[in-house]
């Protein structure tokens, strides 16, 4: 595993999370209740987060250590992993356009958390 795996992978996640967030907000404005597209977008974000969790656990074993606090990194990562299913659950229970907006807010919040995680892994302590 190369040293920059965490970096490009996290950037990919940020892009996917922002795209998912925008898709959900647009669908909400269009009056759509949570559907396969919005929930599917969140599922993609969640899948990448779980992959990130696996990558982060393996990375130090191959010499790629976080420059910042690992505790802070994992607090963000675990929060993000929990946040997406909570939003999706809400979207399944309350079938309104506003729930689609909540899906979008969750995806954008995860995008911000991922950006913070990237900073912790690569530039903190510098």
């Amino acid at each position: 595993m190369r040293d920059d795996v965490i970096e490009w992978f996290t950037w990919l996640q940020v892009v996917v999370a922002v795209a998912a967030g925008i898709v959900c907000l647009v669908l909400s404005v269009a009056g759509k209740v949570p559907n396969d597209y919005s929930l599917g977008a969140l599922f993609a974000v969640e899948l990448l987060l779980v992959a990130q969790l696996i990558v982060a656990v393996i990375a130090p074993a191959v010499g790629n250590n976080a420059t910042g606090s690992p505790l802070e990194f994992y607090t963000y990562l675990v929060s993000a992993v929990i946040l997406i299913p909570l939003a999706a659950f809400w979207g399944l229970v309350e079938r309104t356009r506003w729930s689609t907006m909540i899906l979008g807010v969750a995806a954008l919040a995860v995008a911000i958390m991922l950006y913070r995680m990237l900073q912790i892994w690569t530039v903190q302590g510098a």
């Binding site: 505790l71 607090t75 929060s79 506003w98 909540i102 919040a109 911000i112």
Partner: protein
């Protein structure tokens, strides 16, 4: 007694097809749901950061980090209070949200004048700058929403 408890969920399930989706306990919260969700995210963010601060660098700024933990708990209570219905939770929501507004204004002001006492990384420092100023905006939106909901309470006689 036990049989009644066992029966009640079934009764509710039997009634549900005939009751419209927008009535009763499960009434849609509309845009208020988005507000609650954002509150939930902020509660999660404040709790996570407070946990890290107290676990790793409590000695740097004990007062600020204790306050950080208190604010995290208040955000959690506010989220629950906004989610639940009824006059008691309504009052709890007002108290917690007011506490947040006072907190973000007071700590925001103090952090501008004394960076040592309140480092830049608490949820309320510099009016919540580290959180896109959401901690400053959210209590105001919360109060607006609560006051419209309060009017509904009066109109419906509840």
């Amino acid at each position: 007694m036990q049989s009644l408890l066992a029966l009640s969920p079934n009764l509710e399930a039997m009634q549900s097809p005939t009751t419209p989706p927008n009535s009763g306990r499960t009434r849609s919260r509309g845009i208020g749901g988005v507000l609650i969700a954002v509150y939930g995210v902020l509660a999660l963010a404040a709790t996570g950061r407070s946990f890290v601060q107290i676990a790793t660098k409590f000695d740097h700024a004990p007062l600020a980090y204790v306050l950080s933990a208190v604010s995290a708990i208040v955000y959690i209570v506010a989220t629950i209070a906004l989610f639940r219905r009824g006059p008691v939770w309504y009052r709890v929501a007002w108290v917690t949200i007011s506490f947040e507004l006072v907190g973000v204004l007071l700590v925001g002001l103090l952090s501008v004048f004394d960076g040592q006492l309140f480092p830049s990384d608490t949820v309320w420092s510099v009016f919540g700058r580290g959180y896109l100023f959401i901690p400053l905006v959210l209590p105001v939106l919360g109060m607006v929403w609560l006051s419209t909901r309060g009017r509904d309470h009066v109109e419906s006689g509840a």
